[in-house]
């Protein structure tokens, strides 16, 4: 159920918008399902990390087109090669925004997509998201959770709280870079989940500064970033240009969250099958 930001006087537009969203979501699920079931889309059970990413990692069109840089996830790929369970630690303010909506005790959508799309993949998602945490506090807790849970991959949704709390960009950057490097030193892959697109925040200086900072960090540290801001921005523009109502809170609906899970799934899949960079250190044989 989406939360509407429109005033009640715009009720009819809301209903239409909601129907459109519902249709988009349904289409997204159908398209995703079709991709997932396509036999050619499934990789072999013992994939080489250098193999080409399977088509199954594609994101449903109605979720927009997030740019996914080919950034290897060497530690997770090694676990997959060895038929070991891949442990994913989710840290950040909104579990739903990274893992997709969770219903009736079912595993998170992200886990379902990954296991459905990559044959032989066994995923365990450890959700340790606590809301309102700034990057500095989250990075301390993240280290503890890594020590306790020994994940292969950390999904870190970071930036929004710091942007709203007006944390200075330098301080934010120091926390994130320090943690990313610490994770690399400890043979843990990391994917940063970036800020949410919101038309109202497009001109918010601090929000944009934190967003740019994240872009800078991911480029400098060669880590994967889920570009949900850009994807949502493109989606909003596409809808606007095609004359359809632009869903102002699309990203915060169940459909939006499920798109996020698809973005993340895509980033992971691409990372699992990406060829390791020549200069990149080889993962340690055991963790």
């Amino acid at each position: 159920m989406g939360v509407r930001m429109e005033r009640s006087t715009k009720g009819s537009r809301l209903i239409v918008g909601r129907l459109c969203l519902g249709a988009l979501g349904l289409a997204a699920v159908l398209i995703q399902g079709a991709w997932a079931q396509a036999p050619s889309a499934k990789p072999e059970s013992t994939p080489e990390p250098s193999a080409v990413a399977p088509e199954a990692s594609a994101v449903a069109k109605d979720c927009g087109e997030p740019k996914v840089a080919v950034t290897p996830l060497p530690n997770s790929a090694l676990a997959l090669q060895k038929h070991q369970k891949i442990k994913i630690l989710a840290i950040g303010s909104s579990a739903a925004a990274v893992l997709g909506m969770m219903h009736d005790g079912n595993p998170p959508l992200l886990e379902q997509i990954l296991e459905r799309n990559i044959k032989g993949l066994d995923v365990e998602i450890i959700n340790r998201g606590f809301s309102g945490e700034l990057a500095e506090a989250a990075s301390e807790r993240l280290k503890l959770e890594v020590a306790l849970n020994e994940p292969n991959l950390v999904l870190w949704q970071v930036g929004a709280n710091d942007a709203f709390a007006q944390v200075p960009v330098e301080s934010f950057e120091r926390s994130v870079v320090g943690t990313v490097r610490w994770l690399k030193e400890h043979n843990v892959d990391v994917i940063l989940v970036g800020l949410h697109y919101m038309k109202q925040l497009a001109k918010n200086e601090h929000y944009q500064a934190i967003r740019t900072s994240l872009q800078r960090i991911t480029a400098a540290e060669s880590v994967q970033r889920v570009t949900r801001y850009e994807a949502m921005e493109v989606l909003a523009r596409t809808l606007r240009e095609s004359g359809r109502p632009e869903p102002r809170d699309f990203g915060l609906t169940e459909d939006g969250y499920n798109c996020m899970a698809q973005y993340v799934a895509r980033a992971i899949t691409v990372g699992l099958f990406a060829k390791p960079a020549k200069h990149a250190p080889q993962p340690a044989p055991t963790r």
């Binding site: 159920m1 989406g2 939360v3 930001m5 303010s93 909104s94 579990a95 739903a96 925004a97 909506m101 969770m102 219903h103 009736d104 005790g105 998170p108 959700n127 340790r128 998201g129 606590f130 809301s131 309102g132 945490e133 700034l134 506090a137 280290k143 503890l144 890594v146 020590a147 306790l148 929004a160 709280n161 710091d162 709203f164 709390a165 007006q166 944390v167 400890h186 949410h196 919101m198 109202q200 925040l201 601090h206 102002r248 809170d249 915060l252 609906t253 169940e254 969250y257």
Partner: protein, 362 residues
């Protein structure tokens, strides 16, 4: 009749003000709270003093309360705290929703674990009522509810088998750390921020130390020795915190939770440091109480009305976050937020006591 300012109410008031400030992430004044030079923070102090207050509520052993009366009284208190949690959670959700609406920013709906409430309201409302879904920064009262539900058992063990109380509590504490286990959240899978199986130990220790016999008597008899041991612990840990000199958590031996600095599990490092801090700083009250009577009276009034003040403080922290977002977190905005917030906390305490006086008079 309003009770006189005393050390317990004073430190409780101190904890409440600290919690209010610390719950506005990024605010300038959070750099001044004691967590910047202490491993433990105001949460430990709040729960310890809640245990201490339980000891006062239960009464002395010379004037024992009957078991049924004890259960009824403590059960009633648990119900009051539960009602307060439900009320402030509802108001917090309304603050988030109205802020999102007013400032045209739906992202505010994602703050503090609120997204699930708005996206999956049917299940999440059940979770809110069962306390298995907690909003961020609104997660200490659920712990308090659980502890107060366990309070009759604690009081009965104290009444009939006092020597067993602390060992049983420690056994549960270490079991939870070594297995490890904690309370789960639902419908969003995860863990309680405050693990009730470990945090009970500080509540029980607060209770036990408030008593005239057993551990409380031992500590009081040897308080000078306790403080002599505690002082170096406080100083050394302050240096560790200030320079962030903590070992790499991945390099620690198993079971890691015995050696980590983790708030959710109230790891031994935090517990020991808190007890040392409490021992050292409890010595200061008799000296500065006459020196700054207005501060003593002010913080004691907050402490005397801790539940009401805590509820208002939690909501004001949230409002403070919204204000900081709107006014870009300048020092002026931070000062206004903190000064107005503390003023409103005092008003809450004053209104609570005024109401009590009216009731007593009428």
């Amino acid at each position: 009749m309003t009770r006189q300012a005393n050390a317990i109410d004073f430190w409780r008031g101190f904890a409440l003000v600290s919690i209010f400030i610390n719950h506005i992430p990024g605010v300038f004044y959070e750099r001044l709270t004691h967590r910047n030079f202490s491993i433990s923070d105001s949460a430990e102090l709040f729960v310890f003093l809640a245990g201490w207050s339980l000891g006062l509520l239960v009464g002395s052993r010379t004037q024992p309360m009957t078991a049924p009366r004890l259960v009824a009284r403590l059960g009633g208190r648990a119900l009051t705290i539960y009602a307060a949690q439900i009320l402030i959670s509802s108001i917090a959700l309304a603050i988030l929703a109205s802020s999102a609406y007013t400032f045209d920013n739906p992202l505010i709906l994602e703050w503090h674990n609120a997204a699930a409430v708005f996206q999956d309201p049917a299940l999440t409302h059940i979770g809110l009522v069962l306390l298995t879904h907690q909003l961020g920064y609104f997660d200490i009262l659920p712990l308090y509810v659980v502890l107060m539900l366990a309070a009759p058992l604690i009081a009965l063990i104290d009444k009939f088998a006092r020597p067993l109380l602390v060992p049983l509590s420690l056994a549960l504490y270490f079991a939870s750390l070594t297995v490890p286990f904690t309370a789960r959240t639902w419908p969003v899978p995860g863990q309680w921020f405050f693990n009730p199986f470990t945090w009970q130990v500080i509540f029980v220790l607060g209770f036990a130390m408030s008593r005239d016999e057993g551990l409380g008597a031992v500590v009081r008899r040897n308080i000078d020795l306790v403080r002599m041991i505690s002082l170096p612990i406080v100083v050394i840990t302050a240096v560790l915190v200030w320079f962030n000199w903590f070992p790499d958590p991945t390099k620690l031996p198993e079971p890691k939770l015995l050696f980590l600095n983790g708030k959710s599990f109230l790891t031994p490092m935090r517990l020991i440091q808190f007890l040392a801090l409490a021992a050292v700083f409890s010595a200061s009250y008799p000296y500065f109480a006459p020196w700054v009577p207005w501060l003593t009276e002010f913080l004691s009034s907050l402490g005397r009305n801790s539940l009401n003040v805590f509820c208002v403080a939690s909501l004001l922290s949230l409002v403070g976050q919204v204000v900081r977002y709107l006014y870009t977190g300048s020092l002026l905005a931070d000062t206004i937020v903190v000064v107005c917030g503390i003023g409103l906390l005092w008003l809450t305490a004053w209104v609570s006591e005024w109401r009590d006086r009216q009731r007593a008079a009428g």
